[in-house]
Symmetry: none
Subunit: 338 residues, 2 copies
Amino acid sequence: MLSERRLEVLRAIVQDYVGTEEPVGSKALTERHHLGVSPATVRNDMAALEEEGFIAQPHTSAGRIPTDKGYRLFVDKLTSVKPMTAPERRAIQNFLGGAVDLDDVVGRTVRLLAQLTRQVAVVQYPSLTRSTVRHVELLSLAPARLMLVVITDTGRVEQRHVDCPAPFGESALADLRARLNSRVAGRRFADVPQLVQDLPESFEADDRGTVSTVLATLLETLVEETEERLMIGGTANLTRFGHDFPLVIRPVLEALEEQVVLLKLLGEAEDSGMTVRIGHENAHEGLNSTSVVSVGYGSGGEAVAKLGVVGPTRMDYPGTMGAVRAVARYVGQILAES
Amino acid sequence: MLSERRLEVLRAIVQDYVGTEEPVGSKALTERHHLGVSPATVRNDMAALEEEGFIAQPHTSAGRIPTDKGYRLFVDKLTSVKPMTAPERRAIQNFLGGAVDLDDVVGRTVRLLAQLTRQVAVVQYPSLTRSTVRHVELLSLAPARLMLVVITDTGRVEQRHVDCPAPFGESALADLRARLNSRVAGRRFADVPQLVQDLPESFEADDRGTVSTVLATLLETLVEETEERLMIGGTANLTRFGHDFPLVIRPVLEALEEQVVLLKLLGEAEDSGMTVRIGHENAHEGLNSTSVVSVGYGSGGEAVAKLGVVGPTRMDYPGTMGAVRAVARYVGQILAES
DNA sequence: TGTTGGCACTCACCGCGGCCGAGTGCCAGC
DNA sequence: GCTGGCACTCGGCCGCGGTGAGTGCCAACA
């Protein structure tokens, strides 16, 4: 086990490196922190920390920088989330309070988070898994072509075209529309599949193909609708990455463009509580030199979606975690109110 | 006026510089292009071109690079749009053809354009104002509460609640729905107001209030929902900007995050035909070292929105313009079909 | 055993100077 | 008006040594 002082040294190294972006040496450490020991002692401690893999030196004769493992220990044991100041909290509330609709809430949240943390912000739209179907509408566009419109209780409207295997009469259409609505209206998305399962059987043999096609499209729509969307912002902050950034920034930009990657990233985080993934802890290769701080947010006690930031592993963890937590809390409040 | 050969020299300089990203000298020019004259002659021509401000030299003893003015002349007079090859066109069609809804069309278009041009792609959602109405749907939510859904030919769906002054029967609803659609379906938004003007008169006195309310809401939707949205992609391509890119990339990223800036950018372009804005021709300062190639697209002959790419002034103009034009054309087709 | 001062060593960084070569402008000749 | 020749410029590329921050090791000390 590492002694108390050695942990203190690690903490000091992390703090200095995050601040200066340069490898930190033993002498500088003793000067900037009152550790009460001489540089020589610190050197011994550093050697031990390096032995354990918490820090590394980029060149033989240079200072040390924290490794992913070092940051991990720092985040887990050596620091605590830095709370926002009262003015900051007020500013957050004011800014988010001005939102007019869901898109606006998410948009403002992204901008706010990017500004507060000076990093790339990612906000997932609230999950719609608990939404219900308000109405399903079927329109005939051509003899064998229908339009399916699904309206949810959250006011969302989704629309799809359906190419029928066979022409479908107006009366059959009206029939299907009526039966469909009587079954699914007011029901939760998740329940729709079994509610409509046996519907084709009650139709004429000629029409069953079309009915099945319509149902398949409906189910597909619901699945897609519950699929999570997200918004990102603050990509300009990537330019603050460091000197070697041309090489680093590209895979990050590429990863950020792949919503799938980001959704997986957020999905891997814990449902409740804040998650910090550091460097190589991120499964995606392009994000190996970044850290992701994420947390769930929701209108009630339960998280309906997640938000977070992506930044260099060399980031101000306490401050970032504080900002992420605070923003998540206030977004939850706003959602609960609206 | 510049002689024919001097224009040829300018064209060669642009082509070489775009390819190599390095200042091009007189000797290299004569070697790579069969101009039929010696380097000395080319030097004279270059001096003249520099005098006129079409090219410049970064250092006293280096080759020349085109200025914004040089690129402008190149685009206007010295080149033509490079058409896509047949396989490319097929690939575009296949890729866009797989889209399931408007969001998907726009998303695919952005990805496609970014990939084809290897630059940042910007696609504006079809504007409502220039669209036509495909269908208006009315649903009864409660005795005196309706839902109005407007579906446009571009696949966009807008939805509103209507609180009626008086209860409205199902038959009257069906009647209104039918008459409304027979009048406005297929018509442009702009024409809707006079088309429905006298509609209330043909209803029972009791229902006129509701009909008027519905119509008011419909008109309001058409007017109010002109909010333009857009999608961008391919920001990872910004890393191909050049060596000095850390300084250049940041304002570009910042500009791209401001949708207002981009909308203004596209708005400034001509409504029909392709627009190329080179370097300082862009009003926004952050985009002074980029060129923007944009074009309108639409389901019919008329443009309903714009799309384009943002890249370094040193870009392959013929190729980029070809790709932008081709994508716009096929997106228009897809929208018309769906 | 842990801490400290001393000391030799390493090596990235910086500034200097010289060389090289691509590219230029000018000019006289065809 | 084109061409070859020529002197000149100057950015980029070594190779050089000096500098200094930082290290590891060791002997001495509490």
